[in-house]
Symmetry: C3
């Protein structure tokens, strides 16, 4: 299902709503912040943003929080356990209440894609940024992936990105597909049969793991989303790693200038072995650093600022 | 039980301790902040306040947090689950410790009225603001209700306010009674028999729901406090709504200039139907906006600032 | 086990790594902040620190948070319940991720000493400050104890400090032993047989409670660490208090200029009776106030600042 029409809106639900021109603008603003931010008072001092995480995530929440504070924003943090949603207040009412308090942007993560999607069709008074929705959409992850590739390769036309692993449960795959296509990047998929997604294979072809590694300029290993599995989809971590983990041997099979990426949090010894995580070809921690600048750009867009 | 003698004190336990003059001063400072606050560095930069919520509340905690940050205060947040009160440290010792760390104001919500009340009689070194105590007192809610009425009606003398619903378990009713009387406002009560409070009816008369609606300039619908009921007091949400919910039909019965208020968080489809929440006569979200300015005024008073 | 070699490092794992000269420098910077800090923008505006508490602690976390905010630092707070360590990300990966986001200092408390110790031997990109590790080390507590003694006594040479109570489970005892020795302070131990630690008694002799009180210039009562006991080590709170609690009678037995200290959070009616906590001889709340200044000094050291 495509993102609802958001013309003229600064909401960010998924990357399919963004034109190539808008994507380039976000990449440029991220580069601006990466080069120009210095400790001190940010430019958005005294304006308010709320992080509403209905699904726990240290990494993504901290990345947004750092981006927000670097911009000078005031930050409200919320996690489901300590909220009045327990008292039956809907997310819509929570966001509308926050808008009444003076909050301009709500960064939301939720297990149910529908919960965030519904907010876009109603007038809450807040601009919504999706920080991860169900199995479907994780736009800021796809944007930071794109930014990481652009920094490494410059011109991205004609590159091949192989996404490997738990395709079926990954929101990262979907959000990346919508951005990469706009830059002439070819996407191929690989992973265990039990985690394939035949709908997505209509858009991106499936290859064996070894073939995918040989073709790819970017090997994007996906996190095994144990918490989203309804049934047991593989026998053991060792077995998974033997068949679908990025090991030192497999790293040797990659093209000379190819890089390894992973959206994190990674399972060392499952989809990647420990020594590969910090190999010079791995961009895993650089991705995290890039995420802050991308989120600064996305927040700025939500606040009506930046170059626009 | 009346609030203990607090002469010369800036503690805020309940509205019965405030003279009409003090109430007016708080309303004026709220209006000052509503008109004059601009994003930027607040005037109380580098001074410390702690929000101690021993009972979860997103809405009230966020309202205080926004007020605090708009004033420039540094904010410490605490919820019971992650605290050492689990290790047996009493609230008194927690607050005294905070004072030792440099915290000037403690905003406290607690299921037990006694827990907050006791703090007022001892020297903790912090000024205490009650953010909701048991079934008894919620002074900042009553103050923001008063401010909302004043903004709508101007002169409030002779108005009738009908409070409807779960009278027995509502701290909002009690705190409002002490303020409204001082401004010549008549209070009437209504709601199911199982939720009546015969002590309060000595002060404010009880009417049938329809009669109350017809007489009122303000219909204040109360949240059904399911979490404070010891026994089951009504058969179903539908049944409650049919008999005591504010429906579109009942809204039509209100006086021409009458308004709807609700302390929130509301149960849509129980005490109010969904379409009434955002009706032009509903001040529900405006109440939330007003809450920030009232809390700025109350915090300023606690810090010894403002016009005083 | 001694702290691993940390030459040239600003990590703080335990006090045994600090020379007398370094200890004195920390005390001086604490005194500087106590005398010179004023509300306003701190000097480290826009730099980031994270508090990672894998074991709950209101008191210590708030003390660090106040210290951080007084310095102007931006603060990220983390408690285990809302983190992705639940998703299997190791602490090392969490800290390295934080470093990628721009966090310079990680303040960590953990039940397992090993968890913090391991971080010191690897390159995470963050400077680590230990905020309490297992039963072993709590360096900022020992530093604030030292600072409290220095403020009261001036020259500390020849003083006797009696640590009384749950010696075996106390990380405070160990960290204090390494600092006090360097200032020519004699340490003696006392407490119930079931809580003695015969390894430590090789360094600090054991006395009966009454004898310890008579000899001491500082009586440091230790918290009974109920949550760290594997078996029941005493019959009841009353029984413990009768035999090993600091009562009013025992306070009378102390030397004329002797003081009472306690690392907190204290169990009133167990290791100290309520009325003794706020006796003029008790430095318990002053210790808490001093903790903020000591932590400002330690944070500043971690950031490469201060006089160095």
């Amino acid at each position: 299902m495509a993102t609802p029409q958001l013309a003229g809106s600064s909401h960010l639900f998924d990357t399919d709503q963004l034109s190539k021109w808008e994507l380039e603008e976000i990449l440029e603003r991220a580069a601006y912040w990466e080069q120009n931010w210095r400790p001190g008072l940010g430019p958005y001092q005294g304006r308010f943003v709320a992080n509403l995480f209905f699904e726990p995530s240290t990494r993504t929440r901290f990345s947004f929080e750092v981006a927000e504070k670097k911009l000078g924003l005031e930050v409200l943090n919320f996690s489901e356990e300590v909220s009045s949603t327990a008292k039956g207040e809907s997310i819509y009412d929570t966001v509308k209440t926050l808008a009444s308090l003076g909050v301009e942007v709500a960064v939301i993560r939720h297990r149910e894609e529908k919960a965030i999607r519904e907010l876009l069709t109603r007038d809450t008074g807040c601009t919504i940024i999706n920080a991860g929705a169900g199995k479907t959409a994780h736009p800021t992850q796809a944007l930071l992936d794109l930014y990481t590739m652009k920094k490494h390769f410059g011109d991205m036309t004609g590159l091949t990105v192989a996404m490997v692993g738990d395709i079926r449960h990954s929101r990262v795959v979907r959000s990346n597909l919508w951005t990469l296509g706009k830059f002439g990047i070819r996407v191929i998929l690989s992973g265990p049969d039990s985690m394939r997604d035949f709908e997505l294979e209509k858009i991106a072809p499936y290859y064996s793991f070894e073939e995918a590694i040989r073709q790819a300029d970017v090997v994007m290993m996906l996190r095994v989303q144990l918490e989203r599995h309804d049934e047991k989809l593989f026998s053991s971590a060792e077995e998974y790693c033997k068949n679908y983990g990025l090991t030192g041997d497999r790293l040797q099979m990659m093209k000379p200038n190819a890089i390894l990426m992973h959206p994190g949090p990674f399972n060392r010894g499952v989809e990647v072995v420990a020594e590969v995580v910090e190999h010079p070809r791995s961009k895993i921690f650089e991705q995290k650093a890039n995420g802050v600048f991308i989120r600064m750009a996305v927040l700025e867009r939500a606040l009506g600022g930046g170059r626009r």
